[in-house]
């Protein structure tokens, strides 16, 4: 393990969280412009997090409540460690030789489940309702997501993310063009994963007072918000690797991830919220159907 790799390992969570938070800030700004408002500055989310970290007090309901956000960000950082971030002349692979796509699929859930456990111990019924909704929705969107990944794995006959990136050497070989069905199914799942507007049933501030984190405040909420930014970044990088041929340098990475980030954002701005079972069954209709077409095509 080279010293450069170790430096990236330490630096990447911070960079990732900053980029993710910046994206969410820009999304707030864009939403404001669409609504004919001026909107907050793009770095607003970072201010929010500094404020939350500088909160004087925090309450805890017990051990699991305390460990929930810690484990959540642990899961996210662990996921980050197994995602190849840059693949150019100065690659950032971290641990991605030691894991594959199936590992990524499962380790991504680690953080979500830990947060759900923490929220469960808060004893607030709203948290439990939020978790119940979130897991139901997850069951919905994992189906098209899994289909998309299986298409890729069967097509390239590998489950290693690095090999999938290697196969997309030119723009014409990007999976977005070579396996469009897989991409559509995956993007539909991505909408659910990002929790943007039509699928923000987990947090739904007007219904269940922000759901799982409703008892979290101060430093815990700060950690959770950091986790949110970092997790958004991780998902974006993973999708870039899988469908947009990875990234050679940071500028490409930022361009590609931001382009991906805009898709759920623009869908979210103009849509109201689904009900939980609608959201779940939505994923089993069109995205799954398109994914199945892709599955049949890849077998032929």
């Amino acid at each position: 393990m080279s010293p450069m790799n170790i430096i990236w390992m330490i630096a990447m969570p911070f960079i990732g969280a900053a980029i993710g938070l910046l994206y969410i800030g820009i999304s707030r700004n864009i939403t404001a412009r669409v609504q004919n408002r001026f909107g907050p500055p793009p770095y607003q989310n970072i201010i929010d997090i500094i404020k939350l970290y500088s909160k004087k007090t925090a309450i805890t309901h017990g051990v699991m409540f305390h460990l929930g956000p810690v484990l959540a960000i642990t899961g996210t950082i662990s996921t980050l460690m197994f995602v190849p971030i840059l693949t150019g002349n100065y690659p950032i692979y971290l641990f991605s030789f030691q894991g594959d796509l199936i590992l990524l699929m499962y380790i991504m859930v680690f953080g979500c489940l830990a947060m759900a456990l923490g929220a469960g111990q808060s004893g607030n019924p709203n948290s439990a309702i939020g978790v119940s909704r979130g897991l139901t929705q997850m069951f919905g969107y994992e189906v098209p997501f899994v289909i998309a990944l299986i298409i890729l794995m069967v097509r390239f006959d590998t489950s290693s993310v690095l090999d999938i990136i290697k196969a997309q050497d030119t723009v014409a070989h990007w999976n977005i063009f070579r396996s469009p069905f897989s991409f559509i199914a995956a993007i539909a799942a991505f909408l659910g994963m990002m929790g943007n507007k039509p699928f923000d049933i987990v947090f739904a501030p007007a219904e269940i007072s922000s759901g799982p984190p409703s008892e979290y405040g101060g430093k815990y909420l700060a950690l959770m918000q950091t986790n949110r930014g970092l997790f958004a970044f991780v998902k974006l990088v993973l999708y870039t690797d899988l469908f947009l041929g990875g990234a050679g340098d940071f500028i490409t990475l930022i361009l590609k991830t931001f382009a991906l980030f805009l898709i759920p954002l623009f869908i979210g701005i103009v849509n109201p919220r689904f009900r939980t079972e609608q959201a779940m069954t939505f994923f089993w209709k069109w995205p799954t159907a398109i994914g199945v077409v892709g599955l049949v095509l890849v077998l032929l």
């Binding site: 404001a32 907050p40 501030p205 007007a206």
Partner: protein, 180 residues
């Protein structure tokens, strides 16, 4: 303890962040709650100052008391205020919170909000228009930046006095203790 609090209050970076990120608890009391949506939405757009609504007191920084408070509501407001995480600020909204307003002789609404919870900024008017509300928020931001918005600290230090006032109107006191 006090030195620690002062150090916290005079931390420039923290105060700057607190100033630009005011999360308001969406707890509408009285008739002023109707003034908040225009303040937040397209026309007046309070979000450009970093002011956002939050659903629960654990996450919020600012408690807006938008108008008169019946005693029954006061109980809930005190509970909500105590559940918020310090540093926390209170904005009294409209003349009802200042001196009772048009409910000056009502048997069931409180007359002075600052007897019961520490108010950092009063916005007068019946009701104040969104411009007034935003002006109040900006004044609060200035106080935060100067480290003067120390209502929560005041509450902590003079808890007995506040408790006495609260217990005077809330007869059957069954609230949990405020134990910082």
């Amino acid at each position: 303890m006090n030195d620690d609090l002062d150090r916290q209050n005079n931390n420039i970076i923290a105060n700057w962040a607190r100033k630009h990120s005011l999360w308001v608890l969406a707890y509408g009391t009285g008739c002023g709650a109707i003034e908040v949506p225009p303040t937040m939405t397209s026309r007046y757009d309070a979000e450009r100052f970093g002011i956002t609504g939050m659903a629960t007191p654990r996450q919020a920084d600012v408690l807006l008391i938008t108008g008169y408070l019946a005693i029954k509501t006061l109980k809930r407001v005190i509970r909500t205020y105590e559940q918020m995480q310090a540093p926390k600020y209170v904005i009294g909204f409209g003349s009802c919170t200042i001196n009772g307003g048009m409910y000056w002789d009502s048997y069931n609404t409180i007359k002075r909000l600052d007897d019961y919870i520490p108010v950092d900024i009063f916005i007068n008017g019946c009701m104040p228009r969104p411009e007034g509300v935003i002006d109040g928020f900006i004044k609060l931001q200035e106080r935060i930046a100067r480290g003067q918005a120390k209502g929560w600290q005041h509450y902590q230090e003079n808890l007995d006095w506040y408790r006495a006032n609260q217990k005077k109107v809330i007869k059957n006191w069954t609230m949990p203790d405020y134990n910082w």
